[in-house]
Amino acid sequence: MSSELMIEMKNVHKWFGELHVLNDINLEINKGEKIVICGPSGSGKSTLIRCINRLEEHQRGNIIVEGTELTNDSRSIERIRGEVGMVFQQFNLFPHLSILDNCSLAPIWVRKLPKAEAKEKAMEYLKRVQIDDQAHKYPAQLSGGQQQRAAIARALCMEPRIMLFDEPTSALDPEMIKEVLDVMVGLAQGGMTMIVVTHEMGFAKEVADSIIFMDEGQIVEAKNPKDFFDNPESERTKTFLSQIL
């Protein structure tokens, strides 16, 4: 695996009003790396990945994605969003469009692909997440697990080089979590650069190159899975692990 730098965060800070949600975040992610971020709620883990595609604005420090620094310049934001796919906890599919149209919308309007080609490619990705038979249904007609897989396909249709997952299985019924995780594992094995906010520790053990534990806006610990689970250094990490394992 080459060590091409994909995402670089340097001394990143962010406040919501008085609340210091990101406190001096430093992070380097190479091509093909899979990072899992965990931590208690309110620790800033979602905010961190949402800063990478500018759904949240950081107030101090630098975020550089694939050589482009995130600034207020809308062109830099657009370029980065084109390279970064995102999957949300609540799926956020477009309810007024069929699954196929959900997937082909951005390729047609952002990538300017011809309609037929965009739909063909959308079907390809839907097949990959195994819901090509649902392509003409509307989101409300699908189960949660199917919706989340459709959302993954929608992100993949833009052929991103980085995928962000914001608690992708937290809103799912237990029996549907596996089908989504399987898709994510497949994606990881395909070499995608991934940052995943999740509490699925089984997934983290299997896939992650490194696990980051966050608390109160800071990165408390960042280690490979074996060390993370076997010898956590900080007390906070130990308490957290004892609560969720």
Partner: protein, 360 residues
């Protein structure tokens, strides 16, 4: 499932006409009382009304002497039908108005029939080419004799004002709503001021201003057509109300829809056009149609600036010495026609809602 469960049907009392009556009309003593008094009220009201409108009414004839005065005299409407429908529009040019109606009717029916192809083209024709046809056909030009707008009147004028008001106010309203929610403070402030000023003024004042005050601000010699001034007034008035309706829809959109659109790289205008507006407009269809219906009925106010719309001309015809004393017929007829148009809009909105429902 065991077979015994199948054998137990619902209680007989729930089934059939008797069951329905018992359940919905006579479920207890006060429901029964209400049902019976309701039926009695209908019995008092309906037969005289039917007698007046249909059974005792006069339908054939040419002067008021043909009216027997027992029921309604529809000869009044029939004899004045040209005035009521077209105002003072020259009789020999009426085919132009009818031609425009015909185009509208054909394209309207085409759009209503399900599963026809190229509806987008028909819609685009109606929105872009049809208005040009209207202007040329109705007011003249390209070899057609000019017909001044002061001759326009009746139902025709009502449809022109309401049509232009409705068609133009929606896009303006949407832009105002987007502007009011804009992150740019100047845009947001300007839109808010515009909306609040128009909403804070009665339509009648707007029309007076458009008709009497506006010319004072114009340089001498520049003279806008009175109808155009009224149209602009109605349009902005309606747009201000629609802007708030649309804003309500925008506010009801979950934040996730904005985020998902941004995450796939849609720019602001594409996000709005492709994701946010289709959903939020759908949510507020009933309120939008409500605004349209209100504007349709409010066009009657143009009477105060001397334009004779449908209702205005019916009142005017009633003052004709030959036809004094027939205002009841006039008002009942006006009410019926207004109801037909308003109900058509309401029906269409329900149809649209059902069609666009994707089960969220």
């Amino acid at each position: 499932m065991s077979t015994t469960n199948k054998e137990i049907g619902p209680p007989v009392i729930e089934l059939g006409v008797m069951g329905w009556l018992r359940k919905n009309l006579f479920s207890n003593w006060y429901n029964s009382l209400l049902t019976i008094s309701g039926l009695y009220l209908l019995y008092i009201l309906i037969p005289p009304l039917v007698n007046w409108i249909f059974l005792d009414a006069n339908f054939v004839g040419s002067t008021r002497d043909d009216c027997t005065n027992e029921g309604a005299c529809w000869i009044f409407i029939q004899q004045n039908i040209k005035l009521i429908f077209y105002g003072l529009y020259p009789t020999e040019e009426l085919w132009r108005v009818n031609f425009v109606y015909l185009i509208l009717l054909i394209s309207g029916i085409y759009l209503l029939i399900p599963n026809l192809k190229r509806k987008g083209w028909v819609g685009a024709f109606l929105l872009i080419i049809f208005p040009i046809i209207c202007v040329v056909m109705l007011s003249g030009g390209l070899g057609l004799e000019a017909v001044e707008t002061r001759l326009w009147g009746g139902l025709f004028l009502t449809l022109v004002i309401a049509g232009v008001g409705i068609v133009l106010s929606l896009p303006i309203g949407v832009m105002l709503a987007l502007g009011r929610r804009s992150k740019l403070p100047v845009v947001s402030l300007l839109c808010t001021i515009f909306i609040e000023i128009w909403r804070g003024v009665p339509l009648i004042t707007v029309l007076f201003m458009a008709s009497n005050m506006f010319p004072l601000f114009m340089p001498e010699g520049v003279n806008f057509d009175k109808l155009i001034r009224a149209l602009i007034g109605v349009m902005f008035f309606s747009a201000a109300y629609l802007a708030e309706v649309v804003r309500g829809g925008l506010q009801a959109m979950p934040k996730g829809q904005y985020e998902a659109s941004q995450a796939v790289g849609l720019t602001y205008w594409r996000m709005m056009a492709l994701v946010i507006l289709p959903q939020s407009l759908k949510m507020v269809i009933p309120a939008i149609i409500g605004s349209f219906i209100a504007i349709f009925k409010d066009t009657t106010l143009v009477l105060v600036i001397g334009l004779f719309d449908f209702l205005g001309i019916i009142q005017f015809v009633g003052t004709n010495p030959d036809w004094l004393g027939f205002s009841h017929e006039g008002y009942v007829f006006a009410a019926a026609v207004f109801w037909v148009f308003c109900y058509a809009m309401s029906w269409y909105s329900q149809r649209l809602e059902k069609k666009l429902d994707t089960g969220r």
